[in-house]
């Protein structure tokens, strides 16, 4: 206890710091700030970089076969499923994607995104009505993807599609984000 009291009294009675002491303290404060800054930088760059990694990653695009040409009826629209381009091994079922594939004529296919351009909900195809309809806010599209009704600001996006060796192939794409 005594010791404490002493040191307390002592610090209260200290003479005013000399100019040298002031300069020295300012210098030490700067040393702390600079050292802290360097330390923070060393930690921040990799940590923030790691978290923001999806900004920079551009996963490869792959053509995925979704079925034989003859399995699609001319004039019909069907749901097709395929695997994302670079699925992580723990992705499980989340690695799967779907598209609406329309066979326009013998050699022409169109692949539509299933994501409504309003807020991304999965649109459904009503075969007998020839319409895509969104379950969230009631967006409707015609068979060619043009907006028929409701809030969607843009037509249904299309994915690259081709026919190779008798297979219909869709190029894996990102979920279309309306700007």
């Amino acid at each position: 206890m005594n010791e404490n009291t002493n040191s307390h009294t002592h610090s209260c009675q200290r003479p005013a710091p000399t100019p040298e002491e002031i300069t020295r303290r300012r210098f030490l404060e700067r040393v702390i700030l600079v050292a802290g800054g360097i330390g923070a930088l060393i930690l921040t760059v990799p940590i923030v970089g790691f978290i923001l990694a999806p900004f920079f990653a551009r996963p490869p695009k792959i053509w995925r076969s979704v079925g034989k040409v003859e399995s699609f009826k001319i004039g019909a629209t069907a749901a097709v499923q395929y695997e994302d381009a670079s699925a992580l091994s723990w992705a499980g079922v989340t690695a799967r994607s779907a598209a609406w594939l329309r066979r326009v004529d013998a050699d022409t296919f169109v692949a539509f995104s299933i994501n409504c351009t309003h807020l991304g909900c999965p649109v459904r195809w009503l075969a007998q009505a020839n319409l895509f309809m969104c379950p969230c806010h009631g967006g409707v599209y015609y068979q060619d993807g043009a907006v028929a009704a409701g809030p969607p600001p843009l037509p249904l996006p299309r994915y690259p599609v081709r026919v190779k060796n008798g297979d219909v192939q869709i190029e894996t794409s990102s979920i279309p984000i309306t700007k």
Binding site: F55, A79, V93, N115, C121, C136, Y142, K179
Partner: protein, 469 residues
């Protein structure tokens, strides 16, 4: 004997840490005597948060934040683990209570004018805590990682995508890549379990520190405005004259209310249980109707009811503007009357906001803008014919998707007008015109329907008249 040992231990701890006196002084800080049941909502929010921390930590003992395994672990927690279903319910209703209590606390503080000088930053940190709570609610719903969660991520990414310039980046950041996949869930897990709780702990600390610094605001008196020049002295005088130690004179109400809330939450968890898990999180299952949990359902309604085209601006600037306005409130007006009886517009604002959210919420529950995909083909008794054009027209009304959006009797959707008695108000020519040309929310069928089908459809609709006895 035991008491002596306990006293010696506590004396020793006090000597080495000083913590008992410090906490004791904080707990016994003087509070205005008439701060009664109105003042329990803040501590109730904290109490709900503690339930969330405890039940959340417990759930984390079994939950695996992996895109492929989260769903099975949730099934395990719900169906097999002892107390698992109850624990999920506790976490869900705890979250609901926290959102509710934040709202009540905020309304009370606003109505009592407690945000005025010198408590501006108490309000501002409170607004941030409200934001954190909503982020917790949204990310928590996603950790349920069923089909609804996956599509909620997509909807969230679409909304982030509307932000000017950096929208695309934000959307990719939300998804953890180009699509929903292995990297998506872990991001929300880290946000929900580490980042947000840390922020909440820190800001609750600051929020409480400010309570100690400025004291619990005295209930307002009409005709006694806040003047920053004299307020602190008056408050000090009030406490010296009539102040009571917070512990236990005021704290007992907080304790009673908190326990009551815990009992309520536990009862809800026991009798109603946690939200049922949806289908697996497979983005290729197209039959999905994503819905947010109840505390964001009103916002779902806002997005549905906005005029087309304006949502682009609203989605970005709407929440931003609300946040800025709320934080700015005490800086716009930090003096003057505190009593709600002298601030009729404050009462009006609270009533209007509550009515608005309640109305939007009711709309959100019914979501009439969502097409009804479960609509069944019309019953023969409703059609009133077993063959001929009227019968064929009724079949077309279902197959052409009309029934998804229009009601006939009790069957159908509510997106468009109820057509149960359309023939009573529309002539044939108008029906044909509307079916062929469509409207803002109705597709044009002109290129999509044969003349024969159109005739049958109209023949059916012409029989839809109010039957008056």
């Amino acid at each position: 004997m035991l008491k002596r040992i306990f006293n010696r231990i506590s004396d020793w701890v006090e000597d080495r840490t000083g913590i008992i006196t410090t906490i004791g002084e904080m707990a016994r800080h003087l509070a205005p005597p008439d701060a009664k049941w109105w003042y329990v909502f803040g501590s109730a929010t904290l109490c709900a948060f503690m339930i969330q921390v405890l039940s959340g930590v417990a759930l984390a003992f079994s939950y695996i934040p992996s895109a492929s395994q989260a769903y099975p672990t949730l099934q395990f927690i719900s169906d097999e683990a002892p107390f698992g279903h109850f624990l999920r319910g506790l976490h869900y209703y705890g979250a609901s209570a926290m959102v509710l209590m934040v709202g009540l606390h905020m309304a009370q503080v606003f109505l009592f004018g407690s945000y005025k000088f010198p408590r501006e930053l108490s309000w501002a940190t409170g607004v941030l805590l409200l934001g954190f709570t909503l982020v917790m609610g949204f990310t928590g719903q996603l950790l349920r990682w069923d089909q609804n969660a996956v599509w909620s991520v997509v909807v969230g990414a679409e909304q982030a995508g509307r932000v000017p310039l950096i929208g695309n980046w934000l959307a990719h950041f939300t998804l953890g890549g180009d699509t929903v996949g292995g990297a998506t869930l872990t991001r929300f897990f880290a946000i929900h379990v580490f980042i947000m709780p840390a922020l909440i702990f820190a800001f609750v600390g600051l929020h409480l520190w400010l309570v100690l610094r400025h004291g619990i605001s005295e209930p307002p008196t009409a005709g006694k405005p806040v003047d920053p020049k004299t307020y602190r002295e008056e408050y000090k005088e009030l406490l010296e004259k009539t102040g009571r130690p917070f512990w236990p004179d005021a704290a007992w109400r907080d304790a009673v209310f908190c326990v009551g809330m815990i009992v309520g939450i536990a009862a809800l968890a026991l009798f109603f249980g946690a939200p049922v898990l949806g289908k697996p999180p497979d983005p290729s299952i197209i039959a999905a109707s994503p819905r947010p949990d109840w505390y964001l359902l009103w916002y779902f309604a806002v997005l549905a009811l906005l005029p087309h085209g304006s949502e682009k601006y609203f989605m970005v600037f709407g929440p931003l503007l609300v946040g800025i306005l709320l934080i700015a409130l005490p800086f716009i007006s930090n003096r003057g009357e505190r009593s709600p009886s002298r601030r009729p517009w404050a009462i009006a604002a609270v009533v209007m906001i509550v009515l608005m959210i309640a109305a939007l919420w009711v709309k959100g529950v019914r979501s009439p803008w969502s097409p009804n995909f479960k609509a069944q083909p019309l019953a023969l008794s409703v059609i009133g014919a077993t063959n001929g054009p009227v019968f064929i027209g009724a079949q077309l009304f279902h197959s052409k998707g009309c029934l998804n959006c229009h009601l006939i009797g009790d069957d159908g959707g509510r997106r468009g007008p109820d057509l149960t008695d359309v023939a009573s108000r529309l002539p044939k020519s108008q029906m044909i015109l509307r079916i062929a040309n469509g409207g803002v929310n109705m597709p044009a069928y002109a290129g999509n329907i044969t003349q024969a089908d159109m005739d049958a459809l109209v023949a059916f609709l012409e029989t839809r008249k109010t039957r008056r006895p």
